[in-house]
């Protein structure tokens, strides 16, 4: 099966500091893949390389096409929704305007309406707060808004950067439940960056562990969960 997203020997960094030293990974259609590792291992930089937020060499292919020299705006329009570190909420705008920006490029109006219904079913709190400034939302609500907006983009692939960060365990559960639902209903592939390895491995079918800028281990999630020494030295539980 051809991969939806493929990274091949990707090097990337900020100015003189290189962060990724040859990362290779692949995700196929509809698959959930976890990207794990300690702070500073290069998880966020990997996501940023994919959407062109950082200069990279090597090759990144999405749906059979190289993303080299492609602008962020254009590759996003090809079906990648990136919920970045810090959630990427436009706090100067209202909740509704944030959602609108998720689907303003879509022309299939009826489907957009249906997607709005779904979003509000998943996250009823967003319907109640539609007219409020997004800056008034709590951390968990902002994460919900970010995921709702990503859903409205109708992507082929979602890149989620630590959706659990700073949230209460119950909220994390609820959000991951909905990520799973979205994955299963829409066959959206998900690349999930997480510190919380336990919950990430429960969701994903495959996982990569990054260590200072390269892939230290990769395998199916159950393999990684089962391997005591991997768990202890890399995943910390």
């Amino acid at each position: 099966m051809a991969a939806l997203l493929e990274l091949e020997d990707v090097h990337a960094g900020y100015g003189q500091t290189s962060v990724l030293h040859g990362v290779s990974l692949s995700i196929s259609d509809g698959q959930v893949v976890s990207l794990l590792g300690a702070n500073g291992a290069g998880k966020t930089t990997t996501l940023r390389a994919i959407t062109g937020g950082v200069h990279w060499t090597g090759d990144i292919r999405f749906a059979g096409r190289s993303l080299r020299r492609m602008h962020t705006e254009d590759l996003v329009r090809r079906g990648i929704a990136h919920v970045p570190e810090g959630r990427g909420i436009l706090t100067e705008l209202t909740v509704d305007e944030n959602l609108k920006l998720g689907c303003y490029l879509r022309r299939d109006r009826a489907a957009v309406r249906a997607d709005y219904q779904r979003v509000f079913e998943y996250f009823p709190v967003l319907r109640d707060r539609r007219r409020l400034s997004a800056s008034t939302l709590s951390g968990g609500e902002q994460q919900m808004l970010a995921i709702a907006r990503a859903l409205l983009m109708r992507p082929k692939l979602m890149l989620l950067d630590e959706p659990s960060l700073g949230l209460a365990p119950l909220v994390v559960r609820a959000i991951f439940e909905i990520i799973r639902t979205i994955n299963q209903t829409d066959r959206v592939a998900v690349l999930l960056v997480e510190q919380n390895a336990r919950i990430a491995l429960e969701m994903s079918s495959h996982a990569y562990v990054l260590e200072v800028g390269h892939v230290a281990i990769n395998g199916t999630s159950s393999e990684l969960q089962g391997n005591e020494s991997v768990r202890r030295s890399y995943l910390g539980y």
């Binding site: 962020t72 436009l90 100067e92 609108k100 920006l101 907006r149």
Partner: protein, 293 residues
């Protein structure tokens, strides 16, 4: 009482002019975190274009919108050619670039049109009409109406249309907007075009009062700065309210404070700038700058 009403009405007319230019400053400030020091000069040059069109026999009400279109295109071109290459440069570089642009446009206007003041036509008669027990000139009422329509149009564009939404998104959150597919660079260029067009309105409205010459906008821009600062520099609504407040205040001060008269009105504007910066640095509609460490 009658005179007070009259003074307020005429203050609102000049306030509308200040508000237009202040709004132009705010639009650019939101897009690049800096006011465009060439905004007034660009407005002056646009007014010369309107003058040329009318001088060649075009009707005022065709020349006016046509000038706004030309100003819009010129604003976009200036952003693409002059500003974009230094987009990521330090603030001081951008200050110098816009100051240089101001000098360039001013010199260019002098070179092409000369420094002899010309009278600029007004479509409104100077006759007066009685409203609210006071006599208001059609000129003042016309300026208020035109500014009002233009400012309302900008408001609708920014708040009620998709393109306005993406412009606001690009200005405030460039990185996050890119991830949503917004062509940020072009949105900023549209912002420049819009600012140039609104600025042109202020130039065309003030020209019949001041007479047209290359340095015409140099005092107006100070009033516009005062208006923008009073409104909170980031807020389009604040710029409009600030413009009206500055217009009325300056007019009343000129009329009722004997030591101000006609000569010290600019000092009133400067006093407003200094006063706001000392007492309420975020202006009337601005929010406190919060920086996370």
């Amino acid at each position: 009482m009658q005179e007070l009403t009259q003074q307020i009405l005429s203050g609102l007319a000049t306030g509308g002019i200040f508000a237009s230019l202040a709004l132009a400053l705010v639009l650019i400030y939101n897009a690049m975190g800096l006011v465009n020091f060439a905004q007034g000069e660009m407005a002056m040059f646009s007014t010369f274009i309107a003058f040329t069109l009318i001088d060649r026999g075009m009707s005022y009400w065709i020349a006016f919108p046509l000038t706004l279109v030309i100003a819009f295109v010129a604003g976009v071109v200036v952003q693409r050619v002059v500003i974009r290459p230094v987009e990521r440069a330090p603030v001081l570089t951008l200050v110098i670039v816009t100051l240089g642009l101001a000098t360039l446009v001013n010199g260019l206007a002098g070179f092409i049109y000369g420094y002899v003041p010309r009278s600029f036509p007004s479509p409104f008669s100077v006759q007066t009409v009685k409203i609210l027990g006071a006599y208001a000139s059609y000129q003042d009422l016309g300026v208020i109406a035109v500014s009002g329509v233009v400012l309302l149009a900008i408001y609708v564009l920014l708040q009620r249309t998709t393109i306005g939404l993406t412009m606001r998104a690009a200005a405030h959150h460039p990185e996050a907007s890119r991830l949503l597919g917004v062509r940020v660079s072009w949105m900023l260029a549209l912002g420049w075009g819009l600012a140039a067009a609104v600025g042109a309105v202020s130039g065309i409205m003030v020209a019949p009062i001041l007479s047209l010459e290359p340095n015409m906008m140099q005092t107006i821009i100070i009033y516009a700065f005062a208006a923008a600062v009073l409104g909170g520099i980031e807020s389009p609504v604040g710029a409009v309210v600030g413009g009206l407040v500055v217009g009325v205040t300056v007019n009343l001060a000129g009329a009722y404070l004997p030591f101000v008269g006609g000569d010290l009105q600019l000092a009133v504007a400067l006093a407003i700038i200094v006063g706001v910066l000392i007492l309420k640095p975020n202006g009337l509609f601005g929010r406190a700058a919060v920086r996370r460490v």
